[in-house]
């Protein structure tokens, strides 16, 4: 057995296990069924509770707001799969980045709504549930954003730090709120969090904004304006790498070193000795680690510390060197005794470029598959996941997408989304879909039609047949023969069509008239599906012709039904009886040859029935019928001979 990554957590199921009974369970696609058995840990066996408990791992799937996330991301997912074909590989990276941004914006939209609901709801438990979901989504977005910078965008030295700065700014946006608060106050310079704002802005590398806020103070203190001017100069001249520009990285590095030395000089000269805060800022600018660590409150996270530290010490950091700084920053920031939390470990793995570890840890820490499935899929499209061997399934991407889609399929309404996910799992997707689609409850025909469309588009003929059969059987149970026949025609299910045709004929022999004429008269080529159905259609046609008084056509059809062996032998007597009124017409309808054929049919039938053992009464009726027919046939033969003879002469 494989080593466990984490100790499995215990879930208490309310109402189970009071009497020390053994629990039984059954796996379902998304749920687990749990029940008490008759066995106990100790003591005699006793009757168990009759309750079944359904345990669901993923409760997020039922959240109405997260449903928007599932639906919107489904659209992006499908778009991404199509991207593959029609884009030259050169432009792909920018496409992937924009796909990644789309995913993130959907997460953000969801967070916004959850946040609003958390604020507006009055129910405490609901509010905290929303709050939990917001914090999970925040973490997801944080990780996703970092993965986008490191893996998808794969920024080279120089731009890497700029993107990391954006990442930190986006996820530590309370600085903006506080800055606005300070600037809108009556005297910003005297506001109690004035210096916090200035330092926070510097820590995020937002020098222009920091200068703006600083200028408020400078105008107040005329006596030290030269010092402020000096600081303003330092902040203004801080070089920022421009990836779009012509400047090379080396040129930037030289420039930056020059600026760094200047900052250092200011510190040596005690230029800012008059102002404690300005001195702190200057120390930050030279990247003094102790000073940075003093700002823990303002940095709030170790990864902010990491990015700020890099900004002022190694702005041209290369991707492979990141992990060293990440590890040390985390240790410095959290201290030696603190144990990192799952999120810290995931981020650290990302900084170490250990993709598999990121995905693995996320799968363990998060309670839904949405995030890992979509991120893994995107990374796989970027060709970042080399064939990572799993001991099961096909590959990591497909495994996670299948898990996510299976979860969706257990939902009474979201199952439709899962279909597209299964479609894009080349190895096992189809099998999963085949197994799941048959189990969709079909409440209405409209739903059945939608399910059928899914199956027919994918040539899943086995499932088509089974769904049509379910619908046909249901229609049959409700005595809707017409509907039942339509469904079996759609499934091309000959056996069932035969069965329904029998029911029609049975109804006819009971009532003496056909039901559902609108259907039977319009069978068209569908009639050829089964012999019995063909007979039914043709027999009905005979009745129609007869009703329309097109006797000779009707007679020809009736005879051909028997001679071409379309009619089952058991119905020949009925057919011959149907011929009686035609034989009794004043004008001759059956020709001499046709009459002979009718006679031979009758005799053939008699030969057969002699073997079978019937009751006396039945035999009586049969023989009376036969006698009647023989008489009519003989009379018709006579008339036909006379008539045909007359015409010839």
């Amino acid at each position: 057995m494989e080593e466990l990554d984490v100790e499995p957590s215990t879930t208490l199921i309310p109402g189970v296990g009071f009497h020390q009974k053994h629990l039984g369970f059954e796996w379902g696609p998304g749920d687990l069924l749990v029940y008490e058995t008759n066995y106990r840990l100790q003591g005699p066996r006793s009757a168990s509770s009759p309750l079944l408990h359904m345990v669901r791992r993923d409760e997020d799937i039922c959240s109405p707001i997260l449903r928007k996330l599932f639906n919107e991301s489904h659209l992006i997912f499908v778009g991404l799969q199509k991207l593959k074909e029609d884009v030259p590989s050169k432009n792909k990276k920018s496409q992937f980045v924009s796909v990644s941004k789309n995913y993130r914006s959907v997460i953000r939209a969801c967070m916004e709504e959850l946040q609003q609901n958390a604020v507006s709801t009055r129910e405490g438990s609901l509010a905290s549930q929303y709050g939990d979901q917001v914090s999970i989504l925040l973490a997801i977005e944080l990780i996703w954003n970092l993965c986008e910078v490191l893996f998808i965008d794969a920024a080279p030295a120089g731009s890497l730090l700029l993107l990391l700065l954006d990442w930190v700014r986006l996820h530590k946006s309370d600085v903006d709120t506080r800055a606005r608060e300070v600037l809108q106050s009556e005297s910003p310079a005297l506001h109690h969090s004035y210096w916090d704002v200035v330092i926070s802005l510097v820590l995020q590398g937002r020098t222009d904004e920091a200068r703006q806020v600083l200028s408020k103070q400078a105008s107040l203190r005329a006596e030290s304006s030269s010092v402020f001017k000096r600081m303003d100069g330092l902040l203004q001249t801080m070089p920022i790498f421009n990836p779009a520009g012509t400047q090379t990285l080396t040129e930037f590095d030289v420039k930056w070193r020059h600026w760094h030395e200047e900052c250092d000089r200011c510190l040596q000269d005690n230029t800012f000795a008059s102002s404690r805060q300005l001195e702190t800022i200057c120390k930050i600018l030279v990247g003094d680690e102790d000073t940075l660590l003093e700002q823990k409150e303002l940095l709030s996270t170790w990864y902010h510390f990491l990015v700020t530290r890099l900004l002022f010490t190694h702005p041209t950091i290369k991707p492979p060197d990141l992990h060293y700084y990440a590890q040390s920053s985390m240790n410095m920031f959290l201290g030696p005794r603190a144990s990192p939390e799952p999120l810290d470990i995931i981020l650290l793995s990302a900084f170490e470029f250990d993709l598999h570890q990121v995905i693995k840890d996320c799968s363990i820490a998060l309670n839904n598959w949405w995030f890992v499935a979509h991120l893994t899929d995107l990374l796989d499209h970027c060709k970042l996941l080399q064939s990572h061997n799993l001991h099961f399934g096909s590959n990591l991407r497909e495994f996670l997408v299948l898990e996510y889609a299976s979860g969706l399929f257990t939902h009474h309404s979201l199952w439709q989304l899962a279909v597209d996910y299964f479609d894009h799992c080349p190895e096992f997707g189809r099998v999963y879909l085949e197994l799941q689609i048959e189990r969709v409850p079909l409440d209405t025909e409209r739903k059945a039609i939608k399910v059928l469309r899914i199956c027919e588009d994918r040539q899943m003929s086995e499932q088509v047949r089974s769904i049509c059969k379910i619908m046909a059987k249901r229609a049959l149970r409700n005595n809707r023969l017409g509907s039942a026949l339509s469904w079996s025609i759609r499934a091309k299910d000959a056996a069932f069509a035969t069965l329904i045709s029998e029911r029609f004929l049975q109804d006819y022999s009971n009532k003496g008239s056909f039901t559902d004429l609108d259907l039977l008269d319009n069978l068209g080529p569908a009639m050829l599906l089964s012999d019995r159905l063909t007979f039914l259609g043709k027999y009905r046609e005979f009745h129609r012709l007869y009703g329309e008084k097109r006797f000779s056509e009707a007679a020809r059809l009736l005879l051909s039904l028997m001679t071409a062996k379309i009619a089952p032998r058991s119905l020949w007597m009925t057919l011959l009886t149907d011929a009686l009124p035609l034989l009794e017409q004043k004008e001759v309808i059956f020709s001499v040859d046709q009459t002979y054929e009718l006679m031979s049919c009758l005799e053939e039938l008699n030969l057969d029935s002699k073997d079978s053992n019937q009751t006396d009464q039945d035999e009586d009726i049969e023989s009376t019928k036969t006698e009647l027919l023989r008489l009519a046939l003989a009379r018709n033969l006579a008339m036909a001979i006379v008539k045909e003879g007359t015409i010839e002469t």
């Binding site: 209405t444 409209r446 809707r480």
Partner: protein, 396 residues
């Protein structure tokens, strides 16, 4: 867990949506409403005032608890930072609905009729200010078999009368203010009736799952149709039907194969024209109520098409689909009862002078567009992707 470490961020404004793609002004507004939408309908507007519709109803299906909800798309006074109006639909009120909402129709401005998969037909009362939706009357098991209920598939209203049809093949006539059913045609169809529309006051047209159109006249006492039309031999199920708003004899239907058919019910047993419109089931077809040269269709294939017939000399853009029609003149929208010799743009004549153009109305397509409704310059549609799309500047 990390929840605590991120707690402070919850307080921050999550206002950064800069990554979100910008909406093209021509694209419809999308709103995800967390339920698969089976029907969307504009609330009728009073004819006297020249206004655009602002309120629509949506029905859900396949949910644990289905709902009928009322939405507003008017300007809510608030405009966002970009200065453009925030036109996202806002929920006004909703009501639980027993079973899938199979169809929705406004009887008038304040009454809404729903068809349910439980076989019931329900009238909801909507307050004039649209702030509450309440149950006015239910015909339980209007459709059913001897023991089980049968889904009611469609309703149509012509105040005060309404007609419902169902999987049980029955046609039922009601009056909105009478609790008892007015008339039932028991074995109207041997298969499922999918849709129904009024042709005249006493005549309705139904379409069924074996490709037939049946005309019913309630003045006749017999339970057999006045007329049956069908595509010869095809038996392709028809899912929707709509009649031309001014010329009752022109009817459009859509079927399982995505084919759009235009019929002249006065003449011939076969459709006047056939157009391959969609690649899967066409769920709804609607003539524009005031400009019937425009037609809208939506389908299981996830697309919504806007069809326009115009007379033009530019042959190169002609759709080569065997389309033949002629526009007499743009002003010639004949009133009901006017001379029948006026030829509709959708029927008859000389193919060389006309063209039919189809435009996709939705930006991307994956899941089925189940329903659409169009009124004046506004279009609303709902999808299985749980999104409502509203377009308020239709080029009609």
């Amino acid at each position: 867990m990390w929840r605590e470490t991120l707690l402070h961020e919850k307080q921050t404004e999550l206002n950064n949506r800069s990554t979100r793609a910008h909406r093209d002004s021509m694209d419809p507004i999308a709103k995800y409403i967390s339920q698969k939408i089976s029907k969307t309908r504009w609330r009728p507007i009073s004819a006297a005032l020249l206004q655009q519709p602002e309120v629509f109803a949506a029905g859900s299906w396949d949910n644990e608890n289905n709902r009928v909800s009322i939405w507003s798309v008017g300007d809510h006074g608030a405009s966002n930072t970009d200065g453009e109006f925030d036109e996202e639909p806002q929920l006004l009120c909703d009501s639980l609905h027993d079973g899938d909402v199979m169809d929705l129709q406004f009887l008038d401005q304040e009454r809404l009729v729903s068809a349910s998969s439980s076989g019931a037909v329900t009238i909801f009362k909507l307050q004039p200010d649209c702030q509450a939706l309440s149950l006015a009357h239910v015909w339980d098991r209007a459709h059913g078999y001897s023991c089980d209920p049968a889904p009611c598939t469609a309703v149509v209203c012509r105040s005060p009368e309404l007609v419902s049809v169902g999987e049980d093949g029955r046609v039922v006539l009601y009056k909105a203010d009478q609790t008892e059913v007015v008339r039932v045609i028991e074995h109207a169809d041997s298969s499922t009736i999918h849709a129904v529309t009024f042709l005249r006051t006493t005549e309705v047209l139904t379409v069924n799952s074996i490709g037939q159109l049946k005309m019913w006249d309630f003045r006749q006492q017999s339970d057999s149709p006045a007329q049956i039309l069908s595509l010869t031999g095809d038996r392709v199920p028809l899912h929707c039907v709509d009649k031309h708003p001014n010329q009752q004899h022109i009817v459009a239907t859509g079927g399982q194969d995505g084919m759009l058919c235009i019929w002249d019910v006065r003449q011939g047993n076969t459709p006047f024209s056939l157009i391959e419109a969609h690649s899967a089931e066409m769920w709804e077809v609607h003539f524009h109520p005031s400009n019937p040269n425009h037609l809208f269709t939506c389908s299981e294939d996830g697309s919504l098409l806007h069809w326009e017939t115009t007379s033009g000399s530019d042959m190169s853009t002609l759709l080569q689909r065997g389309w033949n029609s002629r526009v007499v003149s743009h002003s010639a929208v004949p009133l009901p009862g006017e001379d029948d010799s006026v030829v509709s743009a959708w029927l008859a004549g000389d193919s060389s002078r006309n063209r039919l153009e189809a435009t996709h109305m939705l930006p991307s397509q994956t899941l089925s567009v189940n329903s659409l409704d169009v009124l004046e310059q506004c279009l609303v549609c709902g999808t299985d992707g749980e999104a409502v799309y509203v377009h308020r500047q239709l080029p009609v």
